[in-house]
Symmetry: C2
Subunit: 116 residues, 2 copies
Amino acid sequence: MSEQAIAPVDAQEPPYYAVVFTSVRTEGDNGYGETAERMEERVKEIPGFLGIDSARTPGGLGITVGYFRDAEAIEEWRSDMEHRAAQKRGRESWYESYTLHIAKVERSHGFRRGQG
Amino acid sequence: MSEQAIAPVDAQEPPYYAVVFTSVRTEGDNGYGETAERMEERVKEIPGFLGIDSARTPGGLGITVGYFRDAEAIEEWRSDMEHRAAQKRGRESWYESYTLHIAKVERSHGFRRGQG
């Protein structure tokens, strides 16, 4: 964990893309944690990657939202070979269920306490 | 909690909208829990509401994604008087920070274990 205060990714200048991945995990780690960390490092190398937000209710739903400048950046990440291998392991072992929504952001805004 | 198994909202037929709300809470409940439950009941009455996914890492980030058929449904929810009062209390008391992204879903798909 970083020593910075936890904060969501800032609103970006539209248009940009949000890739919403909602999931329920299977029991046990099964190598998930290590791969998840590796994927989070790797996606940051994609040109046009803007940021990532992630949350998981213990024993419940997980939501990860990746932000990308354009559809080309998403396609590059989707087709990354290590990421494809991770996707396959996800279907084989890690996820009970998931839904993926690829969406173009039309508007956004943010609030930070003490910043008026 | 429902007795149904936890599962993310299914992929819908595009186009539809995802409203992504990422947040960090302040300390304490301050009436948040009761209002959150009330809002979740109320949004279900909006015509064009398709579903809601929510997750929060303890002590960390929360992400709620609401799915709506069109921009009109979002506008109806945004301008709902009870919801507006809740938004105001959110800025006054409940949130350290938040970001809202309103995005039009272009593609989606889902996976359910044991469903091929």
